[in-house]
Structures are given as C-alpha cells and as structure tokens.
C-alpha cells in the first residue's frame, strides 16, 4: 500500500469503524450488557454503535469538505454555468435553441465531459489490499472515491446516525432479560418470553453500515458484489430480527430469495464483464501506481474520454471496440455488452425492489421500524440505484431504455397499491418502491444527475417519514393499522409536524412563482422530482414513441401526493377512531424526536437551490455524459434540452401533485366523497390493488407451482429409480456381509480363539507359580541359581 489519498483514508476509516463496533458488540455484547443485579441491560452497545457511525459521519463530512475544496465541487462546470440558467426568465428561448441542436446531440456537453476529465481527475482510486491474484484475475479491496461516493458516504452516515439514535429509544423494550413478544402466540396461549436482543440489534446495524459503506467505497465490481451480498445478509438478519414471529422469518426468507434472483443476473453480468474486459476495476488507479501506465478500468474501456462508445458493424453483427487496451483490436459483441448491462441491472432490480421483483420490500416491514427506515428506504434499496448510476457508463441505450421502462412500471404499480394499503409502514414501503422507480426511470432516461439527486433527497425525507411512523408505532403501542388511528397530531405534535414536512417533501409541493433570496420556496422533494419529470418530458419530446415514460411519472406524482396525504390525514388529522388507542397514545421521548427534527431539517433544505444548488452541482461532477451512438433509435436528452423543459415540467408536476393533495384532503380530511363508497363502487379494482396486483399469486402460479410439480417428479424419480438402485446395492452388500460374517466367525475367529485358548491354558498352568508370595519368589531365585550352577558344572566341567 503505497500512497492513499487523504479523502480515501478518511472514508476507509469511516468504513472500518462500524466493523470494529460490530465485532465488539457481537462478541462482547451479551456480557457487557449485564447490569449487576438489575433486570435492565445497559445501553453500552447502542452508544458504541452510535459512536462508530457518528465518528464515521464526522470523517465522511471532513472527506466531503476536503473533496469540495480539492475538486471545487460547488462550482458549476464550465459550460453548465452558462448553459443552465435554471430559473431563467425566458424558458421558451432556451427551448427553441435546444431543439435546433437536437439533431447534433451533445455538441457542447461533449466538451463538458472533456473538461470534466481534463480539468484534473475528479476521482481517486487505489488499492487497499490485494486478496489474491489468479492468473489474469486480480481480486483486491479497492476504493473509488468521487463526488458521488463522498455524498453517499455523508448521506448514509448521517441518516444512519440519526436512525441509530432513534433506535435507542425505539428498541428500549428489548433492553431487558425477559422480553415478552406479544405478537408470538405459543401453543398454550401465552406470549413468547425471551432475553432482550438490544445489543444484537445494534451489532447488526453496525454490520449493515459497514457493508453499505463498503459497497459505496468499492473500487471494483467484484467488491461491490461482495458487499452487495453482505448488505443482503444484514437485511435478512434485520428483517428476521423478531425471528420467532412466523411472518418475520418468512419475510426474511422472501427478501433473501427474491434478491437471489436478481443476483443471478448480477453474476452473469460479472462473468461477461470479466471474460470480455479482464478486469473488475471501475477506473484506473490514481493512487499507488508510481508513474506506470495504470491498468485501465471498465469505464475507460467501454467509453473514451468523450463518453463515446466505439461501435463497429461487422459481418457477425455489431461489435464494441474496447478502448484504452493493450490489444488495439480487442472488442466485445454489442449484444454481449447489452447482456452484461442487463445482468448488472437485474441485480439492481432485486436490490431496489423494482418490477418484477418488488414483492419482497413490503414484507420486509416486519423488521423493526429503524431497520425499515435505514435499510429499506434510505440506504440499502438505494444501493441498486447507486449501482445502476455507477455503472451508467457501461450501459448501452437499449439497457437504459429497459431501465426506464422498468422504473416507469414500478413507480406506477407501487403507487397504485399504496393508495389502498392501510398499514402505515406498508404505505411507506410502496411509496419507497415507487420513488425508487422514479430514480431508475431518471437514470434510464439519461437524467443521471436527476436520479441521484432524487436518491439523496428521498433518503432524507423517506427516512424521516419512516422514523415518524416508528414514533407513531411506539406511541400507539405497536399498532400499525391506520384505520385505528386518527387525530394523533394532538397527542404527538412533533411527530405530526415532522411527518407533514416529509409528506410535503415527497409530494413535491411548492409555492409557485415566489422566491426567497433567489431560492424557490419548496422542500427537497420538489426539486428532485421536478428534475426527473423535466428529464422525462424532454425525453418524451425527443423520442415520441416513448411518451409513456413521461406520463407515468407525471400521473404518479399526483397519486403520490394523494396517498401520502391520505396517510397523514388518516393518522394525524380528524377524530380518533379508536378511543382506547388514542387514550394510551403518547409522544415519543427526546431521543426519538431529536433525530426526527434533524432529518426534517435536511428534508427541507438538503436540495436547496434545486439544480443550481450545491448538492446537485456536487453530484454532477461525477457524471459521465454518454455520447450518442450512431445508429441507436434513442436520443438522450442533454442538460440544455432538459433545462428548456424545466419550467413546464415543474408547473405540470406541481399541478398534478396539488390535485392529488386536494383529493386526499377531500376524501380523508373532509370525508366527502366518502372513501368507503368509492371503495365499494370500485370493489374489483380495490381488491386487485389490495392484493398488490396479484403479483404474489402470479409468481405462485408461474414459479412456485411449476417448481413443486418438477420437484414432485424428481422426488418420485428419486424414490423409484435411484432408491431402487441403491436398495439393490444395499441388498447385495447385506448378502456379501452375511457370507463375510460366516467366514469371520467360523474361520478367522476360530483360529484366533484357538490361539487365545491355548495361550490362556498355558497362562493358567503357569499362574500357579505366580502366587504373589514374596518368600516363594526368593526361593525360586535361590533354586534357580543353584540349578544354573549345577547345570554349568554339569555341562562345562573344568573350563
């Protein structure tokens, strides 16, 4: 390990801190938590975990600040600053201007990419440790740090810190030697009693943070895969935290198995990439190669410095020239690269719960709420989006189109299901899926920055809402059904208030046309969703065949607003529906509300300035802007083009969201039209949605039943044929053994026994001499001596 950049150092330490925490907690946790005499265990494990992740946050923050100063992350990229006057007074002019250059796409943006690269590398990459070299294959622990990594690190550690602190309060009832799980009913009607697993929870959380940070830090796709799986394991452990609950263990299994499907594609992608490119690395090392020509990474091989993919047509179909490679003629078939991209994306689909693998995420809400907040909304599911974004340079237009459609379908399907869900956490879960669909859509549409922008903002407000729901659940004594709540804002004002902030943020509501010190009055969600919708609108204009990709997010924006406000009105507004629940309800302690307020702050302000703001600017420094591929049917929108549609898209989205909000207020705030009547009128649709578009049934029919049939067939084959052969062998063995036994018993044993009997007889006859009497022995000696002498005299006389 030669030289490692200071930012990388900071991140590596921030990455390893939770691992230390995990090791200490998991090995020493149980004992450290015994208090002398008291039945309560101490909070040491939680403090340790919070300390680790908080330290990680501080380190990440310093790394981010260092990155900002080193790379100038807050400065707009040269051509951007002029070409993207975001809130320009004259949007039409821009729009027309950009339509004219649409035929010659990305002329200016290509320069941007060049300057982005040429103006000093804005990433650091290097090796921490080589695990092994197997021929050409080199497996190492690498790091790859660019602005995206820095921001992801900061975001993950910040949210994780908040959630850890929140969890101290949420998991408090686990801090006992005798915890009663009221949701597990034993055969005798009683509830399960078990020791509290307070320390275990925090050790899992620490392991999760370690894995997630490792995933973000990874400098090669193999390491990404390793941590990808580690994240999956943590998810499995945390979903199944209440392992005694059947639903929890089933959900954990489901999450794990569904993820395997995606990972299968991931592995295929990995294999294609390795066989074709011979490396797993993202980009060449900047650290540690002392002047030598760095080994090129995947991104550099696929695209040149201008983001151009070198496609050639040959007799056997299109091929892609591998660039920056020793062998100038090295190439990869076009379709194979597409397959690799689809494979990688399949992994993202599984992890980010995209259609058609979205079914596991709602079930994952069986885990404790902080887990839902951290793992299943803010970070882990975002890992899929992160990977899709990270691998953006490798994705060819066909792949991007697939991504876009998957995202569009997902966001719509999930949003529709969320309308009818009644469990507060499930509403949020479907909302998460839907929002992840937005991000995927954005990436697929070429709105790389918009997708990641939304990833960050969504992480903040979604974790905020989950923690709010956790606060509600704790306050209502583990009641999650919204129909039993209502009017809680009086009982838990802070929660209600912060939740409202989150809801407004996700709905993308804003005050149109008014700005304060040059900034729009809007929460973070408005900016990011606006960016996506604008991208989609531009895309739809450029590729009219794919207009659906614009309509879906637009409509869903309204649906989102509807179901989110439905949730808020259901829970906090109106009159209490269950008086008893209401009476026992209480506001959560400070340890839980303070993280809420911190997250609320970020949910409001993290995206301030929108696409001109610091967050988006910093993210965009990592962007690879793809150059148009010659005979591709798809034209990706450029930044300039998008900027032209921004105004329109913003107004449209706001309008739709406002409609959704209004509808929600009418139905659930005012109660007119009565939701019950609507439900009855659209009973079929409602049932269809309640059953989650019958995906589970579909999978049951498509996969599970056929598998059962095939398995039954194999089982009968096993029983009839294989068992028969085995039985025949066994029978023959028995016959042989019988004969062998006869041989052993009669012949071998006969000889041995005969010898033994002889020996025993001799011994018996000799044992008469062995009296144990000392005096006789002495006598024998004397007699023996005399006999010897006499023999000697007799045999050798006169010698």
């Amino acid at each position: 390990m030669t030289h490692i950049d200071s930012k990388a150092w900071l991140l590596i330490i921030a990455w390893l801190l939770p691992l230390c925490g995990f090791v200490i907690e998991v090995f020493a946790g149980y004992w450290s938590h015994r208090c002398p005499g008291g039945r309560y265990k101490s909070r040491t494990a939680a403090y340790l975990a919070v300390g680790c992740i908080g330290g990680g946050f501080l380190l990440s923050l310093s790394a981010l600040i260092s990155g900002i100063s080193d790379w100038g992350l807050l400065e707009h990229q040269t051509s951007h600053s002029q070409a993207a006057p975001l809130e320009s007074d004259n949007p039409d002019a821009h729009a027309t201007a950009h339509f004219t250059v649409a035929n010659v796409p990305h002329g200016e943006d290509a320069d941007t990419g060049e300057t982005g690269h040429g103006g000093g590398q804005k990433y650091v990459s290097g090796e921490i440790y080589t695990l092994g070299t197997f021929g050409k294959l080199r497996i190492a622990i690498d790091y790859y740090v660019d602005s995206l990594t820095l921001i992801m690190f900061t975001m993950v550690t910040l949210i994780a810190t908040c959630i850890h602190v929140f969890a101290i309060g949420y998991m408090d009832d686990e801090r006992t030697e005798d915890h009663t799980d009221h949701q597990v009913h034993l055969a005798d009607g009683s509830h399960l009693h078990r020791p509290g697993r307070f320390y275990l929870f925090f050790s899992y959380m620490s392991l999760f943070c370690f894995s997630m940070l490792g995933l973000v830090l990874a400098g090669n796709i193999f390491m990404v895969f390793v941590f990808w799986e580690l994240v999956g394991i943590c998810s499995y452990l945390l979903i199944g935290f209440y392992v005694e609950r059947r639903s929890a263990s089933t959900a954990a299994n489901k999450a794990f198995i569904v993820n395997r499907v995606g990972d299968f594609g991931f592995i295929i992608g990995l294999m294609i990439l390795w066989t074709s490119f011979g490396t797993f690395g993202f980009k060449s090392y900047t650290d540690g190669n002392d002047g030598a020509h760095p080994e090129p990474g995947l991104f550099e091989m696929v695209r040149d410095d201008h983001g151009k993919v070198d496609v050639e047509k040959t007799d056997h179909g299109s091929i892609v020239r591998i660039q920056d490679h020793d062998d100038k003629s090295a190439s990869i078939p076009y379709w194979l690269l597409v397959a690799a991209g689809l494979g990688i994306f399949a992994g993202c689909v599984g992890k980010s719960a995209q259609f058609p693998l979205q079914t596991w995420l709602p079930d994952a809400m069986e885990g404790p709420t902080p887990v839902s907040a951290l793992v299943h909304s803010a970070t882990m599911v975002a890992a899929g989006v992160y990977l899709a974004a990270r691998f953006f340079p490798v994705f060819l237009p066909e792949v991007l189109l697939t991504i876009a459609y998957v995202g569009a379908i997902t966001l719509f399907v999930a949003a529709t299901i969320a309308i009818v869900a009644t469990d507060i956490k499930r509403v949020l879960a479907y909302s998460t899926i839907s929002q992840l669909g937005y991000m995927m859509l954005a990436i697929g549409l070429g709105g790389w920055g918009a997708g990641l922008f939304h990833l960050i903002t969504h992480a903040f407000f979604k974790s905020l809402m989950f923690l709010c729901s956790g606060s509600v659940i704790v306050g209502c004594h583990h009641e999650q059904e919204m129909p039993r709540m209502g009017g809680l804002r009086k009982k838990m004002p802070i929660t209600a208030c912060t939740m409202l902030i989150g809801v407004i943020a996700i709905c993308g509501l804003a005050v149109p046309g008014v700005s304060l010190w040059g900034y729009k009055i809007a929460f973070s969600g408005y900016h990011s969703k606006d960016a996506i919708v604008a991208t989609a609108m531009t895309y739809a204009h450029l590729n009219p065949a794919h207009s659906l990709l614009f309509l879906a997010p637009l409509v869903t924006a309204g649906i989102t607003a509807f179901y989110m406000f439905r949730l808020w009105f259901y829970t906090f507004a109106g009159e209490p529906r269950d008086q008893e629940l209401y009476d026992h309800c209480h506001e959560s302690p400070r340890v839980m509300t303070v993280p809420l307020m911190i997250l609320a702050f970020f949910a409001i302000f993290c995206a301030v300035g929108g696409e001109g703001g610091p967050l988006y600017t910093a993210i965009s420094h990592s962007e690879t802007i793809p150059e148009h591929i010659a005979d591709s049917a798809i034209t990706l929108p450029s930044h300039k083009q998008i900027a032209g549609y921004h105004q329109q898209a913003g107004i449209l989205a706001l309008l739709v969201a406002a409609v959704g909000t209004l509808l929600a207020w009418l139905m659930y705030g005012v109660g007119r039209p009565d939701p019950g009547i609507i439900r009855r009128q659209f009973a079929g649709t409602h049932e269809f949605l309640v059953e989650k578009w019958r995906f589970d049934e579909l999978y049951d029919a498509m996969f599970i039943r056929p598998v059962h049939v095939v398995a039954a067939w194999f089982s009968s084959f096993d029983r009839r044929v294989l068992d028969g052969v085995l039985h025949w062998f066994a029978h023959t063995g028995v016959v042989l053994a019988r004969w062998n036994r006869w041989f052993d018993e009669s012949l071998v044993d006969g000889i041995v026994n005969w010898i033994a009997v002889r020996v025993q007889a001799i011994g018996q006859s000799l044992s008469v001499v062995q009296t144990g009497r000392l005096r006789q022995y002495v006598m024998f000696i004397a007699l023996g001596v005399v006999t010897l002498f006499l023999l000697m005299f007799a045999l050798f006389p006169q010698t």
């Binding site: 005096r775 004397a782 007699l783 001596v785 002498f789």
Partner: protein, 199 residues
C-alpha cells in the same frame, strides 16, 4: 602382626549373628543379631585395612538397622512379643535350599586358585598396609585417582574417578529420601473439635 585370632573372633560373630537373624523368631532379637553381625563385619573391614568403609558400615548400617528396629517394634506392637511363625515344612525347605546354595558357593570358593591373585597383589603393592584410606577414597570420589596401585595401571588411564557415580548417588539419595517421606507421610484425618489444640 598376625590378625588370625581377631579374624576368627569377628568371623564367628558375623556368621553367628547372621544365623541368629535366621533362627530367631522375635523381631527385636533378630535386629540385635543383625547389629552384632554388621558390627562384626565392620571389624572384618578394619582387618582388611578399609577403615573408612568400616566406619561407614558402623554409622550407616547401624543407623539403618536402628530404624529397622524402631519399625519392627512399631509395626509389631499389637502384641508385645508378637511372632509370625512359618510352618516347619517351609522352614525345612528354606534351610535345605540355603544349604544347597551355600554348598555351591563354598564349592566355587574352594575350587578357585586364589594364591595366584595373592601373589599378584603382593607384587603390586608392597606398601599399602595402612588402613588410612579415607583421604584416598575422598580424592577418588571427587575424581582424583590418588591410589598408586590403580593410577599406574595401563589401560585404565590416569584419571579414573568416581565423581559422576558419587554425584548420581547423592541425587539418588535425596530423591529417595523425599520419596520415602512422601510414601510414609501421615494420612491426616479431619480433626474433630476435641483435638484441636496445639501440636
């Protein structure tokens, strides 16, 4: 000077004591006979000009026998003059075997021509008449062969000593003493309250 009468006295006492040990049935009388026999043997050693061996015989063997005596008294203390008799047949058998052995050894002793050895000895060491062998033995034990008879014999080398056996025997003695003390240690019983005094 003629030592014949002294030899006869000591020899008779030695043999008589030994036979007394065999014949006697009382353990203390046996021990007394043994002391007589061993003491007379020491006398024989003095006659053979082995003063140091004789003195050691007195000190060590008599000390050892003393302990034997104590044990004999202690372990047969259930009756004041307890005797464990053997059957006359056994006694006769033992005597017969003993006589047979004695006759064999006596035959051997008589059968050998000892005079040649005697002659060799008189030639080899004309002046070793003094019994003051203590210093020579001591030097020999620490590895300095001061005995002129041995020192000059060819094939033995000039440095014949017994330092190593001496050390080995010393360690051996120590080990044996510790071991014996361990073997014979008192098996302490748990003291009941009445005997809890100073001891």
């Amino acid at each position: 000077m003629s030592n014949q009468p002294l030899f006869w006295i000591f020899a008779l006492l030695t043999c008589g004591g030994a036979v007394g040990v065999v014949i006697s049935q009382n353990i203390v009388r046996m021990a007394f006979s043994l002391i007589v026999s061993l003491g007379s043997t020491a006398g024989l050693f003095f006659l053979l000009e082995a003063d140091f061996v004789g003195a050691t015989q007195l000190l060590v063997y008599v000390g050892g026998t003393l302990v034997l005596l104590i044990f004999g008294v202690m372990l047969t203390a259930s009756g004041p003059f307890q005797q464990i008799r053997v059957s006359p047949g056994e006694t006769f058998l033992g005597a017969a075997v003993g006589l047979l052995l004695l006759s064999v050894i006596a035959f051997t002793v008589i059968d050998v021509e000892w005079d040649t050895l005697n002659a060799a000895r008189t030639e080899a060491s004309p002046g070793a008449e003094s019994g003051n062998t203590a210093r020579a033995i001591g030097l020999r034990l620490v590895g300095i062969p001061a005995d002129h008879e041995i020192g000059v014999h060819e094939g033995r080398g000039g440095r014949t000593g017994y330092l190593l056996p001496f050390e080995i025997v010393s360690i051996h003695l120590l080990v044996v003493l510790v071991g014996a003390a361990y073997l014979a240690r008192a098996k302490r019983r748990v003291a009941d309250g009445s005997t809890g005094g100073e001891n």
